[in-house]
Amino acid sequence: MLQGESYEPLTFVVAEEYNEQYVFAQTDYSERYLPSPGKEAQAHPGLLMQMLSNTRSPSYWIPGGIGAILGSAQTKFLRPAYVGREYKVTWTVTQIYPKREKQYHEITATMYDSAGDPVMERKLHVTYVPAAE
């Protein structure tokens, strides 16, 4: 991918069972993430951050023998997301820069709700290295 290029966007619905999978994975049984009568369950932040990984784009691909390493990430939480609602994620390579003899891609991932309002933004700093490294 070159600077300025975008991955294919992803549209998905936060499934109740998948959300509860993150509740289990994080041992985070806060009532905000669990369904209850008259209240929407909030999407778990682990699920949301995972869905903003560029590996979730339908067009994500790296050649065999190459590994992708997430070195750092900046995340902005802009509004809560909810189970059962649809969201769209976009990814753009916003910068390519060298650091400690490696080339890093800054990938800006943004999640939008169905009204087009941003829910979460993550700047992912990813480097690609030979698998044996």
């Binding site: 994080q26 932040p45 682990g46 997430l70 990430a73 995340t75 939480f77 809560p80 044996a132």
Partner: protein, 143 residues
């Protein structure tokens, strides 16, 4: 109404064990995916070895998610509307590891009437003190 934090206050997670079962749940994709789990360096020994790693490692996002839990516990709903997290992953975690997270209030400033912005230093370390992540967090609280 919860008491607002002050500079110097520290929030701590306590010890968080890293288990392969929870790595699978976090990084394996939905349980009902045919052929679950998705095979990657977080869920599969062979994929990890192909990548030059002896055993699967926990996703850095999983550690970040624990950090969000700590900050949500400290700042409540405000975190999900104004929270900002800047995290550098220093070392990976594998099944059988344990780590603990810490967030220290470094700065508190008024942004306007009724709004306070907090800056926190965040870190995660194994029980022997080896750093696994470091960074900063910011959040605005209305009062």
């Amino acid at each position: 109404m919860r008491e607002l934090p002050a500079p110097g206050d520290v929030f701590e997670s306590g010890t968080i064990p890293v288990s392969f079962a929870k790595m699978l749940a976090f990084s394996g994709g939905p349980f009902d995916t045919p052929g679950w789990p998705l095979r990657n360096i977080h869920t599969d020994y062979e994929k990890a070895r192909e990548a030059g790693i002896p055993v699967p490692i926990a996703s850095g996002i999983q550690a970040e998610s624990h950090l969000v839990r700590l900050l949500e516990g400290a700042f409540g709903d405000a975190w999900f509307r104004t929270g900002m997290l800047d995290v550098k992953h220093v070392r990976p975690l594998a099944a059988g590891d344990a780590f603990a997270l810490k967030a220290r209030v470094a700065e508190r400033r008024q942004l306007g009437e009724g709004t306070t912005r907090y800056v926190l230093e965040v870190s995660g370390a194994r029980p022997d003190g080896t750093l696994v992540l470091t960074g900063t967090a910011e959040v605005s609280v209305e009062r």
